[in-house]
Symmetry: C2
Subunit: 492 residues, 2 copies
């Protein structure tokens, strides 16, 4: 363990008429007696209250020290806690950590409330730039949610938010800037540069996060406007960054960030894969909730589905639509352009538009047919085309063929549930032996937890961020061709 | 000059599709090219806006650097300014400084608006401790006044508050804590210890001071609950602290702080001299404004007065009441207890109470008699008794007699106007040759200006504060006797 904080129990001599030292002087001397440097600092957030806190605690306290600063003065015997957060564009995952041994006390998820102001980062940046105080609104609505998650996690484990002394928040660059209160205007215009790439430490109080008075939040470094700290966290926690093999590591979301690790070099890019895999822009799409079709099998004319929690089907989530497309392709119901083949037994026409029926009204929980339309296929084509193009550009840049990939790491909530064979069937991933694929879940969150409890992991993140080469796809001369090729279903 | 800030003109390469570095990276590299360290920091207040600022200024700017931090990014060619403030319990004095050469551009004074919440520090601490949000109210009302002074001084010199990049605020310990937002509760209870004695640097934005985005305010060190940074500033600017002679230096105000310098040692104390010298608690008292009696001469039965601006007399200010008491004593109208002598030609009885008539109704601007009452004499006795007792305790502690004082420095607004012979006549000051006295005006303000433009002066203040011995008069065994002796007019 190389925790970024230490804690020490102190008993401080009270002031009296024969000992008129200032509160700060007597506090520092007690710390010095306990073996800490004489020049230790109390940041403003702690100074604002510490005289009252020392008296309320009758001059007996657990003092939390971080580098050369006091970040919290807690009642004696308090267990210092930490908060790790992965802020996704759509979802937020929070972890409450025991800062004595680094263990996870509890975890909790929530929707990112910024969704109300735009479903992707571009529309949120637009909101921030075109609404007076927009960035502040986006910041505070998210921070409110984090404060609520902290309160709930603390309540459920019998702790107080005031004993949370350190935080790490990982997110994409836009989330990072909005959380930290950094300018986002320049993220909304070409050439889409971040205000800040390097890692930051910000006082929690400044961004409205209600933890211990002097608690700091560590924000890991970004790579580019569309490759953020969450990708760094993912590369860190999966070990991909340190692999000596050829590794592709990607985090599928509204934006999909992809890294290729080869010969000690890491190159990354970001592709706008859209929200189809989160169920958005799909006619019967829904997020992964009970009743969502998550698996589809076709044998002949027989279509079978599995839903989350085995509830009556009410819609299709990301992994379900991916399966559906793969199976329709395999059954010959779709051609390589993504058009439904007229006359195929699985294809019907409604109002002159072709579609496939997954669940008839009679079996559905909504009393309505659940279908896959040409437009749905199109959304999936765009998403998979963007992801495959990103992979191919990275491989081409490194002069590698797809089959030289030794490991293929798929992170992200959707990445956990997707069926790899389906992803290969539609050409989203190259056709490699399944054993080379790893589905690692919320690796960004895991990376945030690692950085919360380890200074070494923070340093690794910093050197990793500097080392990463970034390819901007919008200016890549080959991207357009590769993307159009990727739209088709014929590649594998 | 050893200014705490430096400024440099920068032209920064704009981002484009072939140069996707973050704003921070390109900004730092431009600074590095200009000869500054690569690890220079941008504090949160600057990061919050710098991307927009750089673009507004078309990537061409004057950058202000302080230690290893960027504190302002100004339009190219802007002159960086500084703000020095002496916050007295009653009055505020502000100075606008050219941070290129340290010259004073302009100065302006105002009443301390906290007066509305209590006229002395004790009543303000009481207000802070017993009114919800009281300390915040006291802080913000004062900061509002400082912001107004900055705006007015900038407007009158053709500058912008955004180009003020550094500030120094000196005040007594209570003013210091209230300005900085530090806890004051413990200042209101015995043993009256400060939260913080050492010097502080606080981001101006955090305390509501509207200067350049990253501007810092330096708050010089305090000595004790009732000897503050303003006393340190005074000792610094008068050179008293470095004298090899025996020096008394005092700053007369609602509290009077006194230092004795002898053999390289400095010992100080604070006495509650009350607001009589500011015209308060005196029947016809007023502050030093046009029409205030500021000088009094008595020859036989003839009383002559001089008023400020030679306006018709409307009241008596501090120096006037001091003169009046001294002259009444000299004329034999008062005995050594401060009682009016019945039958003396200058003494009359009104409603059975004796008083002296300074200005008859016919000559006054108010159409009313201006008189000195027994109660007024009493207020002066308490004030001068406290000050004299402070001086005597310090001398006794050092084993010195009064006539071994080589220099006697009198600072403060009232200190500038008082007549030294009158002060000696009533026994407020020991009877020394007038040539040993120096009236130095607002020496605390001058010290604040010095610290604003000189790192060395800041360091001197720090070592001075550590070196100062403090005598707490309320627990001094001899103080009570010495104070009662000082109340009488018979000592000299």
């Amino acid at each position: 363990m190389d925790l970024p904080i230490q804690s020490v129990e102190l008993d401080i001599p009270k002031p009296n008429l024969n000992d008129l030292r200032s509160d700060l002087d007597r506090f520092k001397e007690a710390l010095h007696d306990a073996g800490y440097p004489a020049d230790i600092k109390l940041p403003y957030e702690v100074l604002e209250t510490f005289s009252n806190v020392l008296r309320e605690q009758n001059w007996s306290c657990t003092t939390v020290i971080r580098n050369n600063e006091v970040t919290a003065i807690l009642p004696k015997g308090t267990l210092p806690l930490g908060l790790a957060v992965d802020v996704g564009t759509t979802k937020v995952a929070a972890y409450l950590i025991n800062m004595d041994d680094g263990s996870v006390l509890t975890r909790q998820g929530a929707m990112n409330p910024q969704v109300a102001y735009g479903e992707d980062v571009i529309s949120r940046i637009h909101y921030a730039n075109h609404t007076s105080g927009g960035a502040k609104i986006l910041q505070s609505t998210l921070i409110d949610t984090l404060n609520r998650l902290v309160e709930e996690m603390c309540a459920s484990t019998g702790n107080s938010p005031g004993s949370v002394v350190e935080a790490v928040i990982a997110g994409n660059t836009a989330m990072h800037h909005l959380v930290a209160g950094l300018p986002v205007k320049q993220l909304g215009f070409s050439p889409y540069v971040p205000a800040v790439n390097e890692s930051l430490e910000v006082e929690c109080a400044r961004i409205g996060l209600k933890l211990a008075s002097g608690a700091k939040v560590f924000l890991p470094p970004n790579i580019a406007g569309f490759v953020g700290a969450d990708h760094v966290a993912m590369l860190l926690s999966t070990g991909a960054a340190e692999s000596s093999k050829n590794v592709i590591a990607l985090d599928i979301g509204t934006n999909t960030e992809i890294s290729l690790v080869t010969k000690g070099q890491i190159t990354c890019c970001s592709c706008a894969s859209g929200p189809a895999f989160e169920g958005a822009h799909i006619k019967d799409g829904m997020r992964a909730a009970p009743g969502a079709v998550e698996r589809v099998w076709i044998a002949g004319e027989d279509i079978r589905v599995r839903t989350i929690d085995d509830a009556k089907p009410v819609g299709i989530c990301g992994s379900g639509i991916l399966d559906a497309v793969a199976e329709l392709l395999g059954a010959g119901a779709l051609d390589s352009n993504g058009s439904f083949r007229p006359g195929h037994p699985l294809v019907r026409a409604v109002d002159g538009k072709r579609e496939a029926l997954l669940v008839p009204a009679g079996s559905s929980g909504s009393g309505q047919d659940i279908t896959v339309t040409r437009k749905d296929i199109n959304e999936i084509q765009l998403a998979k085309g963007a992801i495959r193009a990103g992979i191919d550009v990275l491989l081409e840049d490194a002069g590698l063929s797809a089959d030289s990939i030794d490991e293929f790491i798929v992170a992200g909530a959707f990445g956990t549930y997707l069926d790899i064979s389906s992803a290969i069937k539609i050409g989203m991933f190259p056709s490699l032996p399944l054993s080379r694929f790893q589905q690692v879940g919320n690796a960004a969150g895991a990376g945030a937890v690692q950085m919360l409890v380890s200074k070494r992991q923070r340093e690794k993140a910093a050197s990793l961020a500097v080392k990463l080469n970034y390819i901007e796809l919008t200016t890549n001369k080959d991207f357009r061709d590769i993307f159009f090729r990727g739209l088709l279903f014929s590649i594998t």
